[in-house]
């Protein structure tokens, strides 16, 4: 028995592994599905085993089956099991399977959070790596939120392998959990300068991806990227950065100017085609963004076009393709420079590669001019004939029409030619674009009056030869053309030479095989033709016979249409048939009817713009949203409303009741009525019966062969549509142009007048000047499309509202607020998180010291002796150095005066960029470069001196200077970070913040912090901030910053709090209720760090205090002592509030709901600006401003348990009154007390 079990497990071991499965599938080609289903059964068995190896094997096979298209989601739980194996081998398989088949709605993903967290913090880097890779494929909003902290920590991992993966996955996290973007961004930015190229590349990758969607938020990173671009040698990184710049330049033309130089250098120097191509692409983007005014503008374009030509001429099809692609971008703005390469592009049309042909076609679109249009289209027509495969031919067809019709037929000089091109295109078999040709025919015929006669003649021929078009296939798309032809012939029938012939052609029995809507047009236009014929022949006695014959023809043929199954055709036909019969009667009495019949179709139809309907302005005083009748009162229940039929207010409701009644009546009496009607009809001699029997009578009566038209048909000079007529026009056109030229030479004086005339004739003609001497062959007048009066020119293009990147449109330049910064950061922060302002100043003062020793600086000192003016400036610079970034602002205005590059600075960040952009105009050669590049801050005085100094020296100083300026920028940023943590500022520091700290234009705010002192002794200082937990309604997060104040090492810190009934410290599972929490770090001397503790709270109405103790070991060189520090945690009611944005409409709804209880508060003697006051309430009490009007503002906040709290703050003469409303009066009272306290303190 035991042996059997052993044998069984050995059997397991010999189960199919993946390779066997693969081989098996291959060997069972004929019954693959059956084989796989047995395999799946086996897998199911294997998954039931306890052995993880067996399970992993099964999961492995499932991964393969998933690839073949089998749904394996049923095994999701087993995959999780394999993921959580401790062995890397299995874990890797598990994560792979998960990444292949998990997605957002896989419910077991919820179970993985802790496992993933464990793997992320695994000591084995490959466990972490595998988890990150897997997570990148199935991250959900929940996972992103829960793991954001862990991943952020990994971004600073010691191993670059982990760092780069963590950086990359952040992009996915941002997408799923946009709130994490702002807190994580500073660290992401740091990674741009990571020593490991892989990590750097990953960071570039992520930021580029982010910036592509919301470029304007990343403009401020341009200097950093610029530096990277000039320093990096990794082509992959370079490509990404250059692509990013391509996205940024449209937003900031100055950036483009700065870029051109280095990019051109790259273009010249690089040997990598991929890099070259991207450089060219970005230069093109720059050139597009620079509307005008670059001196070497055309040189750059020439360079690009030249390089692209090399690409296109390359034998590598890929380069050819990309060259054409880039060329089409240049084309939009600089068509001239592309047009010179027409030969090359036309050559590409003959390429065997369809992608390349299509690209070349795109280019042609922009290359046409009046001169070459005919030639190009002729070439395309040749291709149409040659093309095999309908897709490419259809593409050609649409392109031809696009090219010709672009910008209101701008390039067409001869519409006869165009019409004949269209007619030629109708010969295409099997095209889907019949309707396109048809609409072009209609458009041209309607809008170009001069062409109508010609168009009508052509259309008549088309109608006559309709059998060639409809040909064999019924569903041939080309028969749409007949729709246009019939309509044009009918509408403009006065131009028809032989209306009778056309009329006959339109009434042939074969027409009945056309689609219904075309038949309908045929019938209607036959009537129009009829009217024309009548008018033409009446009055002349000899011709009255012709008129009568025409009537007879109609009467003979129309019944065919009366029979039609298409309702529209039937209706029109029977209507017109009756009419004609009546007319015939009158004719027989020799009454003149032509006048009246023509009146039926009088009036001209004008083209209407496609958007016209939408643009009809709403008349003044008409409000479509207003109730027409008063709405039913809310108290009345719906049932009641329905019962009281008489009261029904809306027309809709009315109809709901009445409709069924009518149908009922109908059904009851239908049969009866039908009987009655039939009887009536039978007795009525004037009723035309559409029954087959009556039809027969007509046909017997006349017979097709008696139609006189047949003879006339022969006399018509028949144009065979198979002959390409458009070629004739090309020749004619050439001749005409020659003649024109000759004429002009003779009569130069006349030219001017002619031009003027032409200008008047052609509306919207904005062709290039060089083409002006091509006069159109006809008097062409393009009727513009009609628009309603007062139509608004706006065109609202709507973006995809589901784009996940919309959520990532977050301003990253705004300094992080304290609350934000904390949210996802769980542990280690940068060291300088908390330092007293004094220390800050020291640091600031110390840093610039070594810089002064650079050669540059020394030289300046010498110069200073020489010139007093310069001395002053240098002093300024010194000051600037001392104050760090802060003082750059005030210097700038002066500087701009001198350098004359005026960037208006609105926000500090923007001006950082402004500074960078206006600074250091890009040198045209390295020697001359030194001067401007090195002197921007010392300004013009220096610049004048610099050229005198030795070029070499200048060269040397340049990098120094740039280095120092970037250094400074870094410092500046650091300082900004620090500032947010200051509790109080000394006066000097306060000044600084006034200079650069705020975003608002109003008087800036003093720095604020919510961190309150918790406890302090000679070893350690604790400050804390308490915030509601966004994710969990019953939790608050206490962030404590520990600062080591002594000279010794502090370790083994343990944080403990005496729980109350209401508030409990959350301890890990398994810990007792009185155990302390170990603080997860140690503190070297002078260092501070932050830890976060979570408390669960039940009742949030009352503030409360918790007693706690921190125990720690102070370790000196020789001894270590246990120390302890008691503290009291004060949970204010404010700390239960969460800053929640609220829209004003939702806000007013909330107030109207009447659920809220009110309370108010008056503060006397507050002498702060109103916006300071609001900012304080927002910052300290977690409110957000809903709306602010002058000195009155409404604010909103929400408690962690979902209580709404609304404030109305008003101020007048140092008195602030706050009216507050909340659904929990106790909470409200306490919060108001706390607000009062805040303002009494300041």
């Amino acid at each position: 028995m035991a042996l059997k079990i052993v044998k069984g497990s050995i059997d397991r071991m010999f189960d199919k592994n993946l390779q066997d499965l693969v081989r098996g599938i291959r060997n069972h080609k004929e019954d693959e599905a059956k084989y796989i289903s047995t395999c799946i059964d086996e897998i199911k068995q294997e998954l039931k085993q306890d052995n993880i190896a067996v399970k992993a094997n099964a999961v492995c096979k499932l991964t393969y089956l998933q690839m073949l298209g089998y749904d394996v989601s049923w095994a999701a739980f087993n995959i999780v099991e394999v993921m959580s194996s401790s062995k890397f081998t299995y874990k890797r398989i598990g994560y792979l399977a998960a990444s292949q088949c998990f997605h957002e709605s896989t419910d077991v993903i919820m179970l993985t959070t802790n496992q993933i967290r464990k793997d992320l913090s695994s000591p084995n880097q490959y466990d972490t790596g595998v988890a990150l890779t897997g997570l990148s494929c199935f991250v959900t909003p929940d996972l992103a939120r829960d793991l954001a902290n862990d991943i952020m920590t990994l971004m600073s991992h010691t191993k670059p392998y982990i760092r780069k993966k963590a950086v990359l996955i952040m992009y996915k996290v941002f997408l799923k959990y946009p709130e994490s973007l702002r807190p994580a961004f500073p660290r992401l930015k740091e990674k741009l300068e990571d020593p490991d190229p892989g990590v750097q590349s990953a960071a570039v990758n992520v930021i580029c991806e982010l910036a592509r969607r919301n470029p304007k938020n990343y403009l401020s990173l341009a200097p950093l990227f610029f530096k990277l671009m000039t320093s990096s040698t990794n082509n992959w990184v370079l490509i990404k950065i250059i692509k990013l710049f391509g996205a940024l330049t449209p937003l900031e033309p100055r950036l483009g100017k700065k870029l051109i130089e280095p990019l051109t250098n790259l273009i010249h120097s690089t040997s990598a085609m991929s890099l070259l191509y991207e450089c060219v692409n970005t230069v093109i983007a720059v050139l597009i963004s620079l509307s005008s005014g670059m001196p070497n503008h055309s040189a750059s374009i020439q360079l690009c076009v030249q390089k692209l030509r090399i690409l296109i001429e390359d034998s590598d099809q890929n380069l050819k393709y990309l060259g054409l692609l880039a060329m089409s971008k240049i084309l939009k703005t600089h068509p001239k420079s592309v047009q010179s390469h027409k030969d090359l592009i036309l050559q590409c049309l003959d390429d065997k590669d369809e992608s390349i042909r299509l690209r070349a076609l795109d280019l042609l679109y922009g290359m046409v001019s009046k001169k070459n249009l005919m030639e190009i289209v002729k070439k395309l027509m040749l291709h149409v004939d040659k093309a095999e495969g309908t897709t490419y031919r259809d593409e050609l067809l649409t392109k031809i029409i696009d090219i010709c019709s672009q910008s209101n037929y701008q390039y067409i000089t001869n519409f006869e030619w165009y019409i004949s091109i269209l007619v030629e295109l109708t010969r295409l078999e099997g095209t889907r674009h019949g309707h396109l040709i048809a609409s072009q025919m209609l458009d041209v015929a309607i809008r170009v009056k001069a062409i109508r006669a010609f168009a009508v003649a052509q259309m008549a021929t088309l109608l006559d030869n309709a059998h060639l078009l409809t040909g064999n296939t019924q569903r041939n798309g080309i028969c749409e053309v007949l729709y246009a032809a019939a309509w044009i012939c009918g509408e403009f029938s006065e131009h028809l030479e032989e209306p009778m012939v056309t009329l006959e052609a339109m009434l042939r029995p074969k027409v009945a095989t056309l689609p219904g809507h075309i038949q309908a047009v045929y019938v209607q236009n036959a009537a129009k033709l009829f009217a024309t014929v009548l008018r033409g022949h009446e009055g002349v006695p000899a011709d009255s016979m012709v008129a009568q014959e025409t009537s007879q023809l109609l009467i003979d043929r129309l019944p065919l249409f009366v029979q039609s199954s298409n309702l529209e055709v039937q209706e029109r036909a029977s209507c017109i048939l009756q009419l004609v019969k009546y007319i015939q009667k009158l004719q027989q009495k020799d009454v003149e009817v032509a006048e009246e019949v023509t009146a039926l179709f009088a009036g001209e139809l004008n083209p209407v713009a496609p958007k016209a309907q939408k643009k009809v302005p709403v008349p003044e005083g008409l409000d479509l949203d207003v109730w027409i009748n008063e709405p039913p009162s809310g108290s009345e229940s719906e049932d009641e409303g329905r019962k009281s039929k008489g009261k029904a207010v809306f027309a809709k409701e009315e109809s709901r009741h009445t409709k069924p009644r009518y149908t009922e009546v109908d059904e009851k009496e239908l049969a009866k009525r039908r009987e009655v009607r039939k009887a009536e009809q039978a007795n009525n001699p004037f009723y035309i019966k559409a029954s087959p029997s009556s039809q027969k009578v007509y046909q017997d009566g006349v017979g097709v062969e008696h139609i006189p038209v047949v003879q006339i048909d022969l006399s018509v000079p028949l144009k065979v549509p198979g002959m390409p007529m458009s070629d004739q026009y090309v020749k004619l056109e050439e001749e005409r142009r020659e003649r024109n030229k000759a004429d002009k030479k003779k009569k130069k004086d006349k030219k001017k007048r002619e031009k003027g005339e032409k200008g008047r004739r052609r509306r919207g003609d904005s062709g290039p000047e060089s083409e002006e001497d091509i006069t159109p062959a006809h008097m062409v007048d393009i009727v513009t499309e009609e628009m309603p009066e007062n139509a608004l020119p706006s065109d609202d293009d709507d973006k995809d509202p589901n784009d996940p990147h919309k959520a990532l449109n977050i301003d990253l330049d705004k300094p992080l607020a304290d609350s934000e910064k904390k949210l996802p950061v769980r542990s280690h922060r940068p060291d300088e998180v908390l330092k007293s302002p004094m220390e800050d100043r020291q640091v600031v003062e110390v840093v610039p010291e070594p810089k002064k020793k650079t050669g540059k600086e020394k030289k300046e000192k010498k110069d200073r002796k020489k010139s007093k003016e310069k001395k002053k400036k240098h002093k300024q610079e010194e000051e600037e150095d001392l104050m760090g970034a802060g003082s750059e602002e005030p210097v700038q205005p002066e500087e701009t005066k001198e350098v004359a590059a005026p960037p208006p600075a609105s926000t500090p960040e923007a001006s950082d960029l402004d500074f960078w952009l206006s600074n250091a105009p890009v040198p045209s050669n390295p020697q001359a470069a030194a001067a401007p590049a090195s002197t921007p801050r010392t300004a013009s005085g220096m610049a004048a001196v610099a050229p005198d100094s030795e070029p070499e020296e200048a060269k040397d100083t340049e990098p120094e200077e740039t280095k120092s300026s970037t250094h400074k920028k870094k410092k500046q940023k650091k300082e900004k970070k620090k500032k947010k943590h200051h509790h109080n500022h000394s006066d000097g520091a306060g000044d600084e913040s006034v200079q650069n700290g705020t975003v608002e234009e109003e008087e800036p705010l003093p720095p604020m912090s919510n961190y309150a002192l918790l406890a302090e002794n000679s070893y350690i200082k604790m400050v804390c901030d308490i915030q509601g937990n966004l994710q969990d309604g019953s939790q608050v997060v206490v962030s404590v910053i520990f600062e080591n104040k002594c000279d010794s090492f502090i370790k083994s810190m343990e944080f403990n709090v005496l729980d109350s009934l209401n508030s409990k410290l959350q301890r890990p599972d398994g810990a007792g209720p009185h155990d302390g929490l170990i603080v997860p770090f140690q503190l070297p001397p002078g260092i501070s760090n932050e830890a976060r503790f979570i408390f669960s709270v039940q009742n949030i109405v009352m503030p409360q205090k918790l007693k706690g103790t921190l125990t720690f070991i102070v370790k000196t060189d020789d001894s270590s002592t246990h120390e302890k520090l008691d503290f009291k945690l004060h949970f204010t009611c404010t700390s239960y509030l969460i800053t929640t944005p609220c829209y004003s409409d939702a806000y007013s709804k909330l107030l109207e709901s009447g659920d809220l209880k009110g309370c108010s508060l008056k503060l006397e003697g507050v002498n702060q600006p109103f916006h300071h006051l609001l900012a304080r309430i927002c910052f300290h009490h977690h409110f957000s401003v809903v709306e602010r009007i002058d000195s009155c503002a409404s604010m909103y906040s929400r408690s962690i348990q979902g209580h709404h709290m609304c404030l109305l703050v008003k101020t007048a003469d140092q008195t602030v009154s706050i009216d507050a409303k909340c659904d929990e009066p106790g909470l409200l009272g306490n919060v108001l007390d706390e607000i009062k306290l805040t303002f009494s303190q300041c």
Partner: protein, 194 residues
């Protein structure tokens, strides 16, 4: 962003698929079929870019592919990726594959015998749709380290199973007769080594 990586043979049979965006299994298969249909009718001497698969992507997306003997490597990427860069990346993937397995296995059987391993290599190159590493040495190094780790844990399936499958593996007619891959005339656009 890379939206999907597909490897299939000359008959359209998938050898490896990797979607960085969720598609249901049947849609995945449809995409493979459509992509195969688009790619397979192209000559080898035309360009390696294709616009417009209707199922995947849209106007912003391109298919970039390479054809090696019996296999198509297709990447579906959006406009943020450099076309030539991706072509090189495919090359890197492919060479890594061959290199890691010491060119002992002809590529036809490669994807038969090591379907998962190919995934693992790919994971070191592309992660979540973004290019992770382009340096071949780095990729090979990481893959080998991980494989070594797997070995130290006793390999994927226990030793006996390994032995058995090794025996099964000796399937003489299927062994490639000619392991010469000189016919891959891959022109690496002179991109300096990543």
């Amino acid at each position: 962003m890379i939206k999907a990586i597909l490897i299939f043979n000359n008959h359209g049979k998938p050898r490896l698929i990797r979607f960085y965006e969720y598609f249901a299994e049947d849609v995945q298969q449809q995409i493979i079929r459509e992509t195969f249909h688009l790619v397979s009718k192209r000559d080898d001497n035309v360009c390696n870019f294709l616009e417009g698969g209707s199922l995947i992507g849209g106007s912003d997306y391109k298919l970039i592919y390479r054809h090696y003997a019996t296999l198509y490597f297709v990447f579906c990427v959006d406009s943020s990726e450099s076309e030539l860069g991706i072509l090189d990346l495919i090359q890197v993937c492919y060479i890594t594959l061959l290199y890691t397995y010491h060119l002992q296995v002809c590529y036809i059987t490669l994807l038969y015998t090591y379907p998962l391993q190919v995934h693992f290599i790919l994971q070191e190159v592309v992660m979540g749709g973004m290019v992770l590493e382009t340096n071949m040495n780095e990729i090979v190094g990481q893959v080998e380290l991980q494989n070594r780790m797997e070995k130290s844990e006793g390999g994927f399936s226990a030793a006996p199973a390994r032995a058995v499958s090794a025996v099964k593996n000796i399937n003489l007619p299927e062994m490639p007769r000619n392991i010469n891959i000189g016919d891959i005339n891959i022109k690496v656009p002179s991109l300096s080594p990543f």
